[in-house]
Symmetry: C2
Subunit: 787 residues, 2 copies
Amino acid sequence: MTGGSAYEVEPWRVRESRLDLDNLARSESMFALSNGHIGMRGNLDEGEPHGLPGTYLNSVYEQRPLPYAEAGYGYPESSQTVINVTNGKLIRLLVDDEPFDIRYGRLDTHERALDLRAGTLVRDADWTSPAGCPIRMSSTRLVSLTQRAVAAICYEVTPLDHQVRLVVQSELVANEAIPAAGGDPRVAAALKSPLTIEEHAAHDGIAVMVHRTQRSDLLVAAAMDHVVDAPGHIDVDVTSSPEVSRFTVTTQLEKGQTLRLVKFLGYGWSATRSRPAVHDQVMAAVTGAKLTGWDGLLAEQRAYLDRFWDGADVEVDGDPEIQQAVRFALFHVLQGGARAEGRPIAAKGLTGPGYDGHTFWDTETFVLPALTYTVPRAAADALRWRQTTLPAARARAHQLGLEGAAFPWRTISGEECSGYWPAGTAAFHINADVADAVVHYLDATEDSVFEREVALELLVETARLWRSLGHRGPDGSFRIDGVTGPDEYSAIADNNVYTNLMAAQNLRFAAELAAHHPDAAADLGVTQNEVASWREAADTMTVPYDERLGIHSQSDRFTEHARWDFDRTAPEQYPLLLHVPYFDLYRKQVVKQADLVLAMHLCGDAFTAEQKARNFAYYEAITVRDSSLSACTQAVIAAELGHLELAYDYLGEAALMDFGDLEHNTGDGLHMASLAGVWIGLVAGLGGMRASPSLRFAPRLPHAISRLAFRVCYRGRHLRVVVTASSVTYELLDGAPITIFHHGVPLELDGTPQEQAIPPIEASPPPTQPPGRSPTRRTATPDLRSG
Amino acid sequence: MTGGSAYEVEPWRVRESRLDLDNLARSESMFALSNGHIGMRGNLDEGEPHGLPGTYLNSVYEQRPLPYAEAGYGYPESSQTVINVTNGKLIRLLVDDEPFDIRYGRLDTHERALDLRAGTLVRDADWTSPAGCPIRMSSTRLVSLTQRAVAAICYEVTPLDHQVRLVVQSELVANEAIPAAGGDPRVAAALKSPLTIEEHAAHDGIAVMVHRTQRSDLLVAAAMDHVVDAPGHIDVDVTSSPEVSRFTVTTQLEKGQTLRLVKFLGYGWSATRSRPAVHDQVMAAVTGAKLTGWDGLLAEQRAYLDRFWDGADVEVDGDPEIQQAVRFALFHVLQGGARAEGRPIAAKGLTGPGYDGHTFWDTETFVLPALTYTVPRAAADALRWRQTTLPAARARAHQLGLEGAAFPWRTISGEECSGYWPAGTAAFHINADVADAVVHYLDATEDSVFEREVALELLVETARLWRSLGHRGPDGSFRIDGVTGPDEYSAIADNNVYTNLMAAQNLRFAAELAAHHPDAAADLGVTQNEVASWREAADTMTVPYDERLGIHSQSDRFTEHARWDFDRTAPEQYPLLLHVPYFDLYRKQVVKQADLVLAMHLCGDAFTAEQKARNFAYYEAITVRDSSLSACTQAVIAAELGHLELAYDYLGEAALMDFGDLEHNTGDGLHMASLAGVWIGLVAGLGGMRASPSLRFAPRLPHAISRLAFRVCYRGRHLRVVVTASSVTYELLDGAPITIFHHGVPLELDGTPQEQAIPPIEASPPPTQPPGRSPTRRTATPDLRSG
């Protein structure tokens, strides 16, 4: 093991060579499998010990009350929380009547590996029972990327010494006891035993269970079927009860003989369909999977991933840890979005219950950029989900006295679930973030169906929001007062630069799209006057600039506020939000996460190079990075400004966020945005990629990385970019010729790889961070095992 | 009845001539008796029907959890809620075994009157039982202003037609069922049956009960004793149980004979003393009261009030409703503070459970000005209470990362109980409000003991708070960022004018006092450098001014915000906070209550007359008066600027706040600040009184008021000011000569009344208010019953 990671550094696997009982929750998140519809934490097959058991279905949640010490108009009354659905991962084993539990007996070896090309979680253990009977067990688990409702497990046991009697119990368990979280007894009550039985049945090797959630009123169904392969006689039994269905295999094996059980799982849910319909759906899934067979599922999975890596792989020579991290990141980002199909991609994907399973701006601003250029269909799906939530967003805007749509700060099904409005409702930038993702997707795909069916409506409704949220100030400029930008250590400020620039883009693109689709726009009630008012608002948008300092002020008067007293802040006082009140953070110059710096990434053209350099120096010195949504953006701007070693440090931090559990909450799920951030740091950072309205690259590498190669999908083409210290080679892998930009110079790409020299850059002195808040200086690990 | 009042307009009584069952809670508040230690709502003697039963002891509260949808550092975890203690008011009556309940039988007459000179609540009823037996009952209730722990009731019954058998049950009842409030079940649970029995005993006519509160751990004791006067034989019985003690008198009366029961009540509580000590304390109180006797208590009460009115009365000729209102107001303000003695004066006094029984800035900014010039000792007591809470205020400041003391926005015992920090913790002005009350008290009394013992410490600790809360901005001026001023429709703003000016005063007076008491200041750790830093901060304090508009901006950039769209606001959308979200209120120009206008009252010297006129015009047009803490201040500034009819209208609104139940919550207690505001509107408004460092008057009357006479205590003297349309007569009633100011001109007062002409004033055009938010045009009622 190296660095902060608890895993072996290998290019295509994340392998744990020894079970760490103290950090089970973390490894369960790391080893989670998902296809965006089903999510299974990497719990041990036998269920115990566990950090946090978890099986999730995208958008299956329970409602819970949101309590307030002092109520206010428009506060959401209830929230939504992802629930642990029926656990189908469970396979218990008894060895001569002793349960296989790695806390007892002797664990001789234990290895788990997430295989990023196979799309499986493989586990191998040699264990000797307390009675002295040694066995070998292995399991391979997959959540199918090709059959959306299907998961499967291949489970094998072999006695290593003498004959044993084995009992294998394969189960579906509802309402598993999970460790309590939070202090509000009403919340705990709402989430305890969330599933009420509707139907359970078992026959032959098959069992099916249908439950209903109590307040959210969703039907949840799970089914299992089995194929058993054993050398001798087996006894088989299947039973079911409201909370447990159990398939039991009993047999006797000689030393060296193997019992093999393949478990096929089908999952489904619905808010509208009938119990029989949902029942039949999961049975069909299982039947289909069984027909495909275990080997078939494996082959499909591998083929799916081969295609994915073919279009998405990033190669990093010189830093095997980052090589591993970016593939791990892409794998999980894919898992989060691959088959979500009209459902959201949550901040922690389906890897854990963190943030209540909610989706934030993380998706559009961090996850979708990575998907847009690698699996564009998944990006489209996620945006189509936003579109389905427009009724709730329009209702929310209306409640807030605004026009158009106000997307929720955090949600599962579309309703606002934020219980603290200064850092929730007030963070209106999420609407521009959605619009920005739409615009980038359109630019990257030229998807005309999406443009007409989805993009226009999303842009029009968000543009309407901005037009009604802002107003013309006394000097004639368009102002957006009293909102919260990305930096959560500031709130309810006037004219946040990020918000205003993003809103201006939103308004401008909405106007453009409405002009391109006059009839569809008219159907949405858009008038010429309205479009003109959008353009006018965009053109006169206020962008606070502090002439005295020669920098942009994050929001009005931000630079007049007291600077945070970093010298009096002890290292253990970070993250600050756990040690100082919001009131003090909000009124001082201290930045939790890239805000103005994010504006320089996403609205780069609004800044001169000199402004960027001065701004970056100023904000670096007050940014504490108490958020996982920061390092990648800082890497991007550091790289753009030529601070390549600093960019590398930030890239390392983003890469280690979950590998090193930097925020101590990987146990409740992986940070999808930070994972996507590894890709952003490499491609937009070191690769200098920008898009919309044209594809541009400006690559430069830090010393440690000798070669960076990445692939992107763009307008139906695949491109490969290979960067070395001194040059870059652009290759159009398929499709018609296209003009790209290399460090600002247009370059016509056809089938021939084109090598370009990397122009030198004279960077200003490297910026400094608050004491103790610099990213860890990255030292590349020797590339021992690559290949 | 006239105007919006439900009561007969009489100069010295508030009389209800008919029982209004639909508004019982309101009359219970209006008829509440208190001495600042004990509070008894005006519930009917027999307990039922009731709006809201209530008996309170100042600072007897229960703790309850404060729930948050999203927690934050420094959020208070629990709140304090005033509880309904042992009810000693109860006297039930059975007439030939039929309970006297005015909902049954026939109520022939029913009258209640609060006598403002006697200090009693008198009730008279003629009732015929369902069985046709007519009786007359009358009760007189007092809470003694002279014997702090004592209340008493004289209860009489007379059969009007034939012989009846009467049973009178006089009770102490703990844990009365009260109507549920609020939605949080944990809160309701915490406040249900708050009293746990510690001891109960009864013998002869005496009963005593001692209970303990569960979480706040306070001992609460109540005792009763009785004197019965009857023409014939009586049977007497006394019993007790954990929740009820009952003294029963049974007798037979002929027509015209009267049974008279005098009930003496003693109340006490303690957080530190033992059960026997508290028990003995209430027994001693009852014994003392019984020795004084009913007539003695009445006489003491009258004498106390005679002295009070002698120094405090305000005469208003031409508007009997305001005449009645100001005496009612002064009476209740006196009741709230008279014997609080080191305990707070809550926003609703001890008249109801509104605002959880909490004390806010209302006390120092509105109630204490009235007390300071009428019952200065009570003002000193309230400020001494603040001093006793300094340990909690220092701890709070420390928790917030500040120096000195941060007084809570709302509290009973000193800990912050506000569950919404933008309108709680952030409203730091409360600290300057406390300091301002201290300074005015010192100016009015020259109380040197208080100055040394109380004032210095309060001023030093609040000055330290301001010094650490603010900072030197880039232009060298002292800024206070991210705080909330009085206007609750703005929050977390930079450089609120009111806050900054009040803080500057606070810093300046602290420096002055520290210089006067160098040794005592040194004991508090004050250094010369610290004092210099206070003066410097005060001298360089930022005061936002909008040159373009020629007005002060309520806070930085306030005038650049969008103006509230009053034309699109329907009348039923007021108060706005119940119909629009805070986020929208905070970022727009709409003012809930006097803020900049209050600064012009309390820091008048910081504004020129022209600025005041322009400011008032500007802010009047955007002030919606959704708070009871506004009309009186608007009356004061309107009067100062010569808008006398507008001042009169605002005065009328303040006067009717509770009489007319303008905010629909008089039922849960009277608005002490608004009551004090009637006095402020008359004395500081029409009388133009300002003080500190000198006593100034600038009286002017609206047309309807032919004569205004008021008395104030100032530096050990009593002064009388009699104002007519054209002139004013100042009279020094006792004490050494003193210089006052009449419309800016110094005037030496000795024993001779001095008549001065009122100079004419040329007012600008009257300002306008938002549509539908002008105060009701006041039409004086004909003075039918005055005398």
